[in-house]
Amino acid sequence: MFEKNRQIDSHIRVVTPENIGFEYRVASPFERLLAFLVDAIIMLSVVGVAGLVAMFVFGLFGVLGMGIGVAMVSWFLVTWFYGGVFETLWNGQTPGKRSLRLRVLRTDGSPIDAGQAVLRNFLRIVDSQPFNTYLTGLLSTAVTRRYQRLGDLACGTMVVAEDRSRAVRFNEINDVLLTPVDNMLPPGALPSRTLAKAISQYVDRRRYFGPARRAEIARHVGEVFAEQYNLPPSVDHDALLCVLYRRTFLTSRDDEETVLESGSHPTLAPEAFREFELPA
């Protein structure tokens, strides 16, 4: 279930029937606008083509009025039931949502049913007020945690983005010379868990930065580490963080396993919790 005080960004935590918590990124109003525009174009072309075909066929039999009538019925059906039918059949997606990789889910992460799909699209008319500007819906998404419009609130649904990143390989660090820094650092020097996480984020992104920017970012952690282990102040902080990254995640030379392997079972947390302490 949603934990109220944990959210600081647009990720929503969901617990599966397997009792695993995982996170969804809630779709932004802008993504939803794009999806809606794609849907609107599809709806317009479907109504246009169906109307022309109906008018042509019935016109051949001399009852053009019947053709216009059928065209209007198709207009009615498409405008009111397009979203509901697609979101039922396509598991919470319309063509527009599929093209932008969005999906409608219940707020607990389970799939929506036909009633929810139909109702949240009926209530679209309220969200599009005033004058089809969608200001009501925008206001509603702005003040709710899961970016829900009024139709979503009434149905207990939310729209999430399905990001598709490929599996990430570990970063091979080839561009800086690590061995000198590695030799300076004592074998047992490892970052704490949370710090290791932060360092991994830095290393994931460092290839997008130039040398000056790297030095600037790496300095904040590097300086503290250098002082703790009596490294010379001129040490390359970027290389230092790379060494720590490599020690934590990549290499498994036996002499470095001392701390992590205290539990000997890989699925268990190490008994001795490594804490990174700021020098007083």
Partner: protein, 334 residues
Amino acid sequence: MKAAELVESRMADWRRLEQGCLRLEHPGRQRLSTQQRVEFAALYRAACADLALADAHQLPAGTVRYLHQLVGRAHNQLYRSRKFEFRQWYEEMFQRVPQRLFHDGYLRLAAAVFWGGFLLALFLSSKWTPVPEFAEAVLTRDGIIGLEEMYSEPLWESGDATGAEGLMWGFYIFNNTSIGLRCFAMGLIFGICGLFATVFNSIYLGAAFGYMTTVPQGENFFQFVTAHGPFELTAIVLSAAAGMRLGFSLVDTGGLSRFDSLARAAKLSLPTMMAAVVMFFLAAVIEGFLSPSPAPYEAKAIVAMLSTLMLLTYLVVLGYSDAPPTEEDTLLDW
């Protein structure tokens, strides 16, 4: 074991799960065999376990992010939306909805307001009125002229033979049903305005009906409106009642939070609204094909009586019960 080795050993399974997701996301392509489905579920559970232990394994942030989206993607393929089930909807529409409507306070309110206003306005603009200028005040001078012109000759003499009935049928479905759905949806923010719209419609319609009894064009007017009246007016009252339920759920929450209260009201009012949509369709068929036809007035009156009988059967015979079905006993469970 270091994180890199762990990830290296699990990567093959994650890739296979990704492949499975890709194939399930495009239902047009070849379907998964039974064997592959079993494997998909196993891979999903394995990925769940990897995610749960990500912290213990000290996986880096990028890998955790990847696992979150992989598990989410597979979760959406494993747990899918339930399809429309005819039997369940039949029970909902012909057993629980009439029973709910039978006990629905908002429907009684909407019906009382609508028919009360209608009959009052009808009386005030008929020839027995104590306020002779009432009809003109409500309908305006231009409205009265337009009404008189519209019904100055029988409708079937003005139409050409190019399928005008079909045109009007389509127009009525599009126009009237949209008005009903709009009335329902707008009830969400304007519960009070829905009430206002109901009052306005009832007074305006009542005045038009009453005024038409005093002029010679009245015969054509009643030729047109009689047959489809019951379905259309009932559908409007139903839409208004469903909309009011939405709007007032935000005011009278019954102890729930406002959003929960709204969700409960929405769940209860959607089937009512579907009943109203069906009535609008029936009314549009009658209004498009029978009402403007030269069929004798008696035939139209019989259709009106039959449809009234059907509505009474639906609301009273099917709906008669000691208490409304419990809220848990509903097709929609959110």
